[in-house]
Amino acid sequence: MANSLIINPIVQAISLTKHVKSSDTQLTILQDINLEVSIGEAVSIVGASGSGKSTLLGLLAGLDIPSSGKVYLNGEDIFSLSEDGRAELRGYLLGFVFQSFQLLSVLTAIENVMLPLELTGISDARKIALELLGRVGLEARVNHYPKQLSGGEQQRVAIARAYVTHPKLLLADEPTGNLDSSTGDQIVDLMFELNRERGTTLILVTHDESISSRCTRQIQLASGRIED
């Protein structure tokens, strides 16, 4: 990996604010967010719809730019980096699990899992991807396309893809949002298992109390602010 040195806290957000302009008014999505996440923690961000959970996650991952404030990932000020610098950082440091799975429809399950490895130029991508698909219980479906898989299976592929690069930090956006409760439970179990096995730090956005309660810490968002 490009950077194996881990700096604690792995995530640090300082006075993070996000406004968006909507015609003639300015909406505040996030207001003065300060946050630290230490290595090995599992943090849930909870809150009602529109409370700014996903926006916060996007900012922590460097997918979006704040109106003001800073985010340090593994000690690096991500908004001082270029777009490409942030992409590179994501490539070796972060893993993602999304509510809508975000698998590439033209790729099979194994190809989807291989993709992050191929992007970083790892040679035995297939072998690593196969192992991980086995770990998430999909060894029989490796050559299936996303549309041939159930929602739960698609999310397992997404989890395998998220862990395949051995990320230090996993960001999950409503990972069970599109699943029924029993499938959702299985997915959450799997995520926590892998998290434990690999010592990954987890930041999870959810509005599901039961999932949130399994985390080591909860951050409650309301109207763009952290509630103490």
């Binding site: 992409a87 994501r90 993602f96 999304f98 033209v106 993709l115 191929e118 992007l119 893809r161």
Partner: protein, 835 residues
């Protein structure tokens, strides 16, 4: 990251998933079409020229008024070309008491090198094609082959002996078809073909004899070009080269116009390909936004994403272009098979050039028109993984498309082979894009503005167009351009064919009668009446030679232009007329009025005026049978020489030339089965010179017919490319439409409501495209016809109706076909698939 390897893998996966079908389809067909057009211009044009060369009897002829240097033959032989020579001269032929002036042609072995010489043994009978056959060689020494008129005038039979100069020669056969028969004074009158070996015995070749020496050459086109360029600097005074284009103005214009049309067809297919590729690439980009966002999220840099798809497209471009070339090869094989019935000459194997050209064109087009949307993929925000509504900026579109248009401009100038044609087409299309885009946007805005007043399905149809305003404008522009290219071709094709048909109708005059005396006009009229043949118009003719221009004595040899030298050495045909002929057009000055009768002014043909350097207001002095006649040039005329009608270099008002020795000339059409009348005419009016152009006209008509067929074939190919644009345009918004339909159906919309809404939407897109295309095609068709093909403009209302009809029907049909799956598959499947 090994972008290339990953790109290959993604390409393979995209191919497998069917993501690239439209793009490949567009590219293969357009490259295939262009390659086929390439073969047409490369190979069939060559064949058509050779077909034309049959009228010349060779691929190249050197003509001279003095014996030709042996070096010319030596050089041709050295290059491995075939040669033969001929001498043409007028002389008297005697049989018993009768004698007649004939055009003699003495030929050597090998004549004719191209085309065929046909003869019959039924001498003295009217030409009967049933009994004639291809001559095996030339007349044997001591024998002659005679033309029909000579046989009729001297009542010749096989075995008769005739005197040609000092030689006594035996009549062996009658000529029925002579390939290099041409109009010219040396060819006037009856024909006689003799073996050149007999020439010395005739004693006719003497110093000062009026002889035309010809060296005929045939062989490989490249070697002919080599010989031509070697000859150019070596020719001496009185020598000139004749190719088919130099010898036959009517074939020349037919070939040149068809070449231009084929170039135009090639350019139309380039435009169509560009439109199809731009649309298909746009769709590809839209469908890959998510993939790019995910890759960006997974750590891919902006340039990595770009290179990934750039390699993707380069590989795709190469593969599809090669496939297109192979398709072109197959199409041209079919073409050769199809042409074998009409082209009698051997077709050379195509060169590698069309292949290289095809691949280059494919790559340039793909990169030129796929790059703009691809560049936008580079800047897909990674945040799209969380918020799918975030689109992509079009920041690079302008630069990208500017690149595309530059590529297109280079292609146009290259394919057109004619800078003026290339530029006018290119400017035409660029203006069209801007105008179509602006008008399209304004009209779509205006139309959708009334949607609140519209009811039911109209409301949703109109709303759809406005919701997809950008896509709608792109669709209208692409469809409009594609249709415009097709309509322009239709217009030009129609004008071209119409023009050929009117200049050479099936009853075009095929006989000229020269040297009619005034007292023979009535008997001639009576003769036509008796034979039930339409009485032709008769024109007065006075022969004179130009002696001075603006008072300065003319010395022909002082002119560097060989045509000017020839024109000034020989006698001109002058005539008078009240009205200007319909196939003449004044380009400078004015035609006279009735009150100008007797005024010493004249109207000069533009070619002559240019050659001898005469302009409006100059005074020309002629020597007419020893008298001097001067007139001021009051107008310059353009004459349509292709029409085979009687025309004159110089025309005066009535009351000017009547006092000079006058004879009359006429031309008329005589059907093939009435050829017997000619024998009677020759006997009844022995002083007439009869010029038979039936053979030439038949051959010209055949060449034009073949060119027409070639044009029709190329047109079909362009039509196919047009269908691909239609498909690409409709499919470009298919995903969105299917998704919306699924939502509508989930909300309870009935099948018929959906169909009606789509019909509204597609009809509007189709009618806008059709109208824009008709507008563009009318303007471009006018410009091309007027300025590059020299065709008269005819306003064509049909093109507007056809444009509208084809636009609406085509877009509605293709659109309904493309979206039908939204009606048949359960909405949940569609919704799942799209999400």
């Amino acid at each position: 990251m090994n972008s290339f390897k990953l790109s290959l893998r993604l390409l393979y996966r995209d191919l497998r998933a069917g993501e690239l079908h439209v793009l490949i389809f567009a590219l293969v067909i357009s490259v295939g079409g262009m390659t086929t057009v390439g073969f047409f211009t490369d190979r069939v044009q060559l064949a058509l020229s050779r077909q034309g060369n049959q009228l010349l009897g060779a691929d190249l002829v050197i003509v001279s008024d003095h014996p030709l240097s042996q070096r010319y033959t030596g050089e041709a032989v050295k290059l491995g070309l075939n040669t033969s020579s001929s001498l043409k001269f007028p002389s008297m032929v005697v049989k018993g008491e009768d004698n007649i002036l004939v055009g003699i042609k003495a030929v050597t072995a090998g004549y004719p090198l191209r085309g065929e010489l046909r003869i019959t043994d039924d001498i003295g009978k009217a030409i009967s094609f049933r009994n004639d056959y291809v001559a095996n060689g030339i007349p044997s020494p001591g024998s002659v082959w005679v033309g029909e008129k000579l046989a009729a005038r001297l009542a010749l039979k096989k075995g008769d002996v005739i005197e040609v100069g000092d030689a006594h020669l035996i009549v062996a056969s009658q000529i029925t078809l002579e390939p290099d028969y041409s109009i010219g004074f040396i060819n006037l009158g009856p024909r006689l073909l003799i073996n050149a070996i007999d020439l010395p015995a005739t004693g006719l070749i003497q110093q000062g004899s009026r002889i035309s020496y010809r060296l005929l050459v045939s062989g490989n086109a490249g070697l002919i070009r080599t010989l031509r360029s070697w000859l150019q600097p070596n020719l001496t005074s009185g020598e000139r080269i004749l190719g088919i284009r130099d010898a036959r103005p009517e074939i020349k214009s037919a070939l040149e116009r068809s070449e231009k049309f084929l170039s135009l067809a090639a350019m139309a297919s380039v435009v169509l390909a560009a439109a199809a590729i731009a649309l298909a690439a746009r769709r590809f980009t839209m469908r890959h936004l998510d993939s790019c966002a995910i890759m960006r999220c997974l750590g891919a840099r902006q340039n990595e994403v770009l290179y990934l798809y750039l390699y993707h497209f380069i590989i795709l471009g190469l593969v599809a272009s090669v496939m297109g070339c192979l398709l072109g090869l197959l199409a041209q094989e079919a073409l050769v098979y199809w042409l074998s019935a009409m082209i009698t000459v051997e077709l050379p194997w195509p060169s590698l050039f069309p292949f290289i050209q095809g691949i280059l064109v494919g790559l340039v087009l793909l990169l030129g028109f796929a790059l703009p949307p691809l560049l936008n993929l580079r800047s897909v925000p990674a945040l799209r993984v969380l918020r799918r509504d975030i689109g992509v900026s079009n920041a690079h579109s302008l630069t990208g498309y500017a690149l595309g248009f530059s590529a297109l401009a280079v292609l146009f100038l290259w394919k057109a082979g004619d800078a003026r044609l290339g530029l006018s087409v290119m400017i035409g299309f660029i203006v069209a894009i801007v105008v179509f885009g602006l008008l399209g946007f304004l009209l779509i805005k205006a139309i959708s503005g009334v949607r609140s007043k519209a009811g039911g399905t109209w409301k949703y149809g109109l709303a759809s167009i406005w919701r997809r305003a950008n896509s709608s404008v792109v669709q209208v522009v692409a469809l409009g351009l594609g249709l415009m290219a097709l309509l322009t071709l239709t217009l030009i094709r129609g004008d071209l064919l119409q023009n050929w048909h009117t200049t050479l109708p099936s009853d075009a005059p095929n006989h000229f009668l020269v040297n009619i005396q005034e007292n023979q006009l009535e008997p001639l009229q009576e003769f036509f009446k008796q034979n039930d043949v339409m009485q032709p118009s008769v024109y007065p003719m006075v022969r004179g030679r130009i002696t001075s221009i603006n008072g300065s004595i003319v010395v022909p040899d002082n002119y560097s232009n060989t045509r000017a030298q020839r024109l000034l050495k020989r006698e001109f045909n002058l005539s008078w007329a009240n009205e200007i002929r319909s196939d003449n057009q004044i380009i400078d000055g004015e035609w006279w009025q009735a009150i100008d009768k007797g005024k010493t002014v004249l109207s000069l043909e533009q070619g002559v005026a240019k050659a001898i350097g005469v302009k409006l207001g100059d005074t020309l002095t002629f020597d007419i049978a020893g008298s001097t006649f001067s007139a001021e040039v009051s107008s310059i005329r353009k004459v349509d020489w292709d029409s085979f009608r009687v025309n004159f270099f110089a025309v005066t008002p009535p009351g000017v030339l009547e006092e000079y020795p006058t004879s009359y000339i006429t031309s008329f059409y005589l059907p093939q089965d009435r050829m017997d009348m000619m024998s009677q005419l020759v006997i009844a009016f022995p002083n007439f010179l009869v010029i038979d152009v039936a053979t030439i006209i038949a051959q010209v008509q055949k060449v034009i017919e073949q060119v027409t067929k070639a044009i029709e074939f190329v047109f079909l190919f362009t039509l196919l490319s047009g269908l691909i644009v239609l498909y690409a345009a409709v499919i470009s918004t298919q995903d969105e439409r299917i998704h919306e339909a699924a939502i509508f159906r989930t909300l309870g919309a009935k099948r018929n409501q959906l169909i009606s809404a789509w019909i509204v939407e597609f009809s509007i897109l189709g009618s806008l495209s059709g109208l824009f295309a008709s507008m563009g095609a009318s303007a471009l068709g006018y410009a091309i016809g007027r300025f590059t093909l020299n065709l008269p403009y005819t306003f064509n209302i049909w093109i507007w109706l056809i444009g509208l009809f084809v636009g609406v029907i085509g877009v509605v049909a293709a659109g309904m076909l493309g979206t039908r799956s939204a009606l048949t598959s359960p909405p949940i499947t569609v919704l799942r698939r799209v999400s």
